[in-house]
């Protein structure tokens, strides 16, 4: 399958007067269209830097990124090829209602058409937020806030979603249900997703493929395809299978090997 996103030899370093901190070193990655890829790695290894580069917020110092065959400069300029980016915290603005928050992307790209706002109202209805659309974000629960943030991301019709630990601010119980919820939505809409997480079980329950990054400067250490006989409809059931346990152990081994060798 033609990859929707491919990274070739991407490197990036942070600079300050004290010196250079290499964050990414020669990352090669292919993301097939419609796949759900999770990226795991030791904390502080440059996972968020990777997403910022893919989203075009940072320019790679070396290497190249192609999104639907276009380089970063071209796809950032093309509003039809927008990449959706969900940040760690929802950052719903307290001075806007839930509805005003979710239309933010449309407002910024000057595409507040009837068609687009109808789509947003439909999303609000689908995700159980329609009754809360005129409320303030602080009146929403953690899970609802995350769903609102997802709608805000989806509103601009991205076909690639970058998820930067979007569930890490939630408590454990909410996290399980919200992550299952959001993964389900992404699968239903056939979006391609790249999820960054430090939670191994989250990675192997949600993703079709897990990419393990090494310690800083991060490189791709291992790629693992994840497949369950019982399918993905019920992420909680997936957690009970033998395959899940097997994947977890494999992943754990890959990660800890890195620790002892470093």
């Amino acid at each position: 399958m033609q990859p929707i996103l491919s990274l070739r030899d991407v490197s990036y370093s942070y600079h300050n007067l004290k010196g250079e901190t290499p964050a990414l070193s020669h990352i090669n990655l292919q993301i097939p269209e419609g796949s759900f890829v999770a990226v795991v790695g030791p904390s502080g290894c440059g996972k968020s830097t990777l997403l910022s580069i893919i989203a075009g917020l940072l320019a790679p110092e070396e290497g190249e990124i192609l999104y639907r065959g276009l380089s970063a400069k071209d796809y950032c300029a093309d509003s039809a090829l927008r990449i959706g980016y969900m940040l760690q915290r929802d950052h719903l603005f307290e001075w806007r209602t839930v509805y005003q928050n979710v239309i933010l992307g449309l407002e910024l790209t000057h595409s507040l058409t009837k068609e687009n706002t109808d789509y947003i109202l439909k999303l609000l209805e689908d995700y159980g937020l329609y009754g809360f659309k005129d409320k303030k974000p602080s009146e929403l629960s953690g899970g609802m806030r995350q769903r609102a943030a997802l709608i805000r991301t989806m509103a601009v019709h991205p076909d690639l979603l970058l998820l930067d630990e979007p569930f890490s601010a939630l408590d454990f119980q909410t996290r399980l249900s919200v992550s299952a919820d959001i993964a389900g939505i992404i699968r239903q809409t056939k979006k391609t997703a790249l999820l960054i997480t430090h939670d191994l079980s989250e990675a192997i329950t949600l993703a079709d493929r897990v990419v393990v990054l090494s310690r800083r400067p991060a490189g791709v250490k291992r790629e693992m395809a994840i497949h369950y006989e019982i399918g993905r409809e019920d992420p909680l059931a997936v957690r009970g299978t033998a395959a899940y346990q097997e994947y977890f152990n494999q992943l754990w081994e890959v990660l800890t090997d890195g620790k002892t060798s470093a």
């Binding site: 989203a55 917020l57 509003s79 927008r82 990449i83 959706g84 980016y85 940040l87 760690q88 915290r89 950052h91 603005f93 307290e94 001075w95 806007r96 933010l104 992307g105 407002e107 910024l108 790209t109 303030k136 805000r152 601009v156």
Partner: protein, 273 residues
């Protein structure tokens, strides 16, 4: 548990009710305390002046002030002087607010500009503005313009610094969100920085109104023929201490009214968001 004697179920529990009662009692106590303190002060002052503990000529007295106020109302000088001071204060307050918002926005927009200007702003802020007053008189003459500029000069630099610092403290992740959604730096300013800084802007307005009043009074001391500052300086020169103290009391009242106005703007904002 204590139950209400009447049959209908009470809308609030007994404990909640006693909490509310205690809360109101506390507030009444505070308000009463404030009024009592004022009356005690006025009473002591009046008695001390009446019994000759202090010299009426130098220290005036509440009754003297009332009499003088009545006289000011009668010859309409109250409206002239208070009006001039009010006008100058409001004009410089509005200009300070607009100028400092514009300047802080520009500094946030242009990082290198803010780095270049930082030491100048700090020095200008620390400079005693009364030192500028004689210069302003030479440049602008004596009159309303000089006084408004004096009012601006006292408040504007501090206001720029505090607004700019506040703008820089807005969570950069919020701006990142704007960029990920395809927004520009200008969008970050109008959608994030300014709306999230409304409480900061209101609190800086609270400071500005006080400082503008300070600047206006300094200006009137040196370069005016009308206004409360002029009355104070004139009164002290001709040993009309009634005039001086009455003007000070009017200033207190003005400060309080301004403060209440901005406070109610704050309340309005809090209720809305």
């Amino acid at each position: 548990m204590v139950r209400h004697p009447h049959k209908a179920p009470p809308p609030v529990s007994a404990r909640q009710e006693s909490f509310l009662r205690a809360h109101h009692r506390h507030h009444h106590k505070i308000a009463l305390g404030r009024v009592f303190l004022l009356l005690l002060f006025l009473g002591l002052w009046e008695t001390a002046a009446g019994l000759g503990w202090i010299d009426r000529f130098f220290f005036s007295s509440p009754s003297g002030i009332l009499k003088y106020l009545g006289q000011m109302f009668a010859d309409r000088s109250f409206f002239a002087h208070t009006g001039v001071t009010l006008f100058e204060t409001i004009a410089s307050f509005i200009l300070v607010t607009v100028l400092s918002l514009l300047a802080a926005t520009l500094l946030w927009y242009q990082n290198s500009l803010s780095e270049i200007l930082e030491p100048y702003l700090v020095v200008l802020n620390a400079l005693p503005k009364s030192a500028l007053a004689p210069l302003l008189i030479v440049w602008l003459g004596t009159g309303t313009n000089t006084i408004i500029v004096a009012g601006i000069s006292v408040a504007v630099f501090g206001s720029i610094i505090s607004l700019y610092t506040g703008f820089c403290q807005v969570d950069p992740e919020m701006c990142k969100l704007i960029y990920t959604l395809g927004g520009s730096r200008r969008d970050a300013l109008t959608k994030v920085i300014l709306p999230s800084s409304v409480p900061l802007i209101l609190s800086s307005m609270k400071v500005n109104i006080g400082l503008s009043l300070v600047g206006v009074i300094i200006g009137e001391f040196l370069a005016a023929r009308r206004g409360l500052g002029y009355l104070i300086i004139y009164g002290s020169q001709v040993f009309q201490l009634n005039m001086v103290i009455t003007s000070i009391i009017i200033l207190c009242a003005i400060a309080m009214v301004f403060y209440k106005l901005i406070q109610s703007a704050e309340h309005y904002y809090k209720k809305k968001y």
